[in-house]
């Protein structure tokens, strides 16, 4: 089994789970490893405990948990593969405290060289995708080729379309919340407890990462996800943290992608394309690459 077993409810008592070391600490909470035990499945879990449980909209968080549980198996597997989704609310004596989620696989970790000669293990955030070549060389971190970057973009595009189709807005799509694997160009989105479920809302007030704001929309919406997706495209291809224009990456893109970029970055949210338009482009480009590969193989 690679998921929580059926009898496990959407709510778990803190007293029934064993916690080990702290893995990360963020603005909203602390993430700790959960000790494996029967009944929790065989995939490693982590517990995100909020600094301020009273500030969490628990009805919205429970709605996220229930949304995943309501999915058909294929969709649920995709969620578990590509998103760090809340699996179960964890409660203590004083009320709900946090939630369980699957631990991100070590494929999404990297070792970086420090200037003093040591090395540090880091989560492979999108910031390591956007460093320029000299900085990547100093970090000793692999620099994906343009083809690998396009594959990462296509995967993110597909995932955003999957979520938008299901009335979910990512909200804070940014450098810190997109992880990538080097070997097989996979994508994982983290901080999914901040996502916005249609008709319900988000468990947390909207947060915007610096330099990933949508100048046209202060409140997250599907069209602001599209704007930020376009920032991801230009910054991933342009190896830059702050650019907002498609000018520097146009040469690497076909005409469809150029049009999508320009429309996605425009100041009128109503003019921005739906995620499905991006997904259609990704599908066509992936098929074209595949067919070229087949021809080469045949020769």
């Amino acid at each position: 089994m690679s998921e929580l077993e059926a009898p496990l409810p959407g709510e778990v008592s803190l007293s029934t789970i064993g916690l080990t070391r702290e893995l990360a600490r963020g603005g909203l909470g602390v993430i700790r490893e959960v000790r494996p035990r029967p009944g929790l499945g065989d995939r490693p879990l982590v517990f995100k405990r909020f600094h301020d449980p009273a500030a969490v909209d628990w009805a919205a968080l429970r709605a996220l948990v229930e949304w995943r549980r309501s999915l058909k198996q294929g969709d649920r597997r995709r969620v578990d593969r590509e998103l760090t989704w809340p699996l179960a609310v964890v409660g203590g004596e004083t009320g709900p405290l946090g939630f369980l989620m699957y631990r991100v696989s070590s494929d999404f970790e990297a070792s970086v060289r420090t200037p003093s000669g040591g090395s540090r293990s880091v989560v492979r955030e999108a910031q390591y995708l956007m460093v320029n070549s000299p900085r990547a060389a100093r970090l000793g971190i692999g620099e994906p080729s343009d083809a690998q970057r396009l594959e990462l973009i296509w995967r993110l595009v597909d995932l955003i379309a999957f979520l938008h189709d299901r009335q979910i807005v990512v909200g804070d799509l940014s450098t810190r919340n997109v992880l990538w694997s080097e070997l097989d160009s996979r994508i994982v989105l983290v901080d999914c407890d901040s996502m916005i479920l249609g008709g319900v809302g988000s468990p947390h007030p909207p947060a915007v990462t610096v330099d990933w704001d949508d100048p046209a929309l202060a409140v997250p919406a599907a069209s602001s996800d599209i704007y930020k997706l376009a920032l991801f495209v230009v910054r991933t291809l342009g190896r830059s943290f702050q650019i907002r224009s498609s000018d520097e990456v146009i040469a690497a893109l076909d005409s469809t992608a150029r049009t999508l970029l320009e429309r996605s970055l425009c100041s009128d949210p109503g003019h921005r394309p739906p995620a499905q338009a991006w997904a259609a482009w990704a599908s066509v480009r992936r098929a074209a690459r595949s067919s070229r590969a087949t021809v080469i193989d045949a020769i």
Binding site: T114, P115, S116, R120, D211, Q242, R244, D247, L265
Partner: protein
């Protein structure tokens, strides 16, 4: 046509270190020599922050000198090393700071950057040897600006003083702006070298917090919570220092 939203943001920091002879006592100069190593490691691990942060390193005794002109510290191969000499002229430090900031900000703006207000980490272990009144005048020339008449220094920095032995009355006068900055000092009886090492942690944390928030609309200079300070140091704001 895609929107051309804003320019690339830069947050300049100036690390100003007292290298008078007394810094050789109690391991203070050794602690100071660890500063750029800690900064380089922290910035290297967070390239998205390193992209926005620039550092200049200045030391001062009877005169001040620029050891590292404003640049990307995380891309340097070597740590900046300090060596002790002479007395403690705050005037030399403040005048050099003003000259450097003025030139650096003008250059960054000419290069097309959106430059945020500079921040100065000022580390000293003793009172100034300048005649009384002179260092206060030099500090005023560094930090005074009248927006109405547009007189003074428009690129005046935020100043965060760190004192390991400096008189509290002096340290207090270096907090700028008085309503938002703080000073850090060694606790009574603490080893000054240990205290300075803990102040380096504050300095690194402030750099990372500020670098991560620059452009978010709020103040570009952020300081860590009092609860995160080491055991040998205290923080104080202008109003709480007598």
């Amino acid at each position: 046509m895609a929107d051309q939203q804003g320019k690339a943001k830069i947050l300049p920091f100036y690390l100003v270190v007292d290298v008078s002879y007394s810094m050789t006592q109690d391991g203070k100069i050794d602690a100071a020599n660890g500063i750029t190593r800690e900064l380089r490691n922290a910035l290297a691990e967070h390239p998205v922050i390193a992209d926005k942060v620039r550092f200049s390193v200045i030391d001062f005794s009877d005169e001040a000198q620029v050891l590292f002109p404003l640049g990307d510290l995380s891309m340097q191969n070597d740590d900046v090393q300090f060596s002790a000499r002479g007395g403690t002229s705050y005037v030399a430090a403040f005048q050099t700071l003003r000259t450097e900031i003025d030139r650096d900000v003008r250059q960054l703006k000419a290069d097309g950057f959106d430059v945020h207000r500079p921040a100065v980490f000022f580390i000293s272990d003793g009172d100034p040897t300048d005649p009384d009144g002179e260092w206060q005048r030099a500090f005023a020339e560094l930090t005074s600006y009248d927006k109405t008449t547009k007189t003074g220094f428009p690129y005046y920095p935020n100043v965060i003083p760190f004192g390991v032995g400096a008189a509290l009355g002096t340290l207090k006068e270096l907090i700028f702006p008085r309503n938002r900055s703080k000073c850090y000092m060694a606790k009574d009886g603490a080893n000054p070298g240990d205290a300075l090492r803990q102040m380096v942690e504050v300095l690194v944390a402030s750099t990372m917090l500020s670098g991560a928030s620059v452009g978010a609309g709020g103040p570009a200079m952020l300081l860590p919570d009092a609860g995160d300070l080491g055991d040998d140091i205290l923080e104080a704001d202008y109003e709480t220092l007598v």
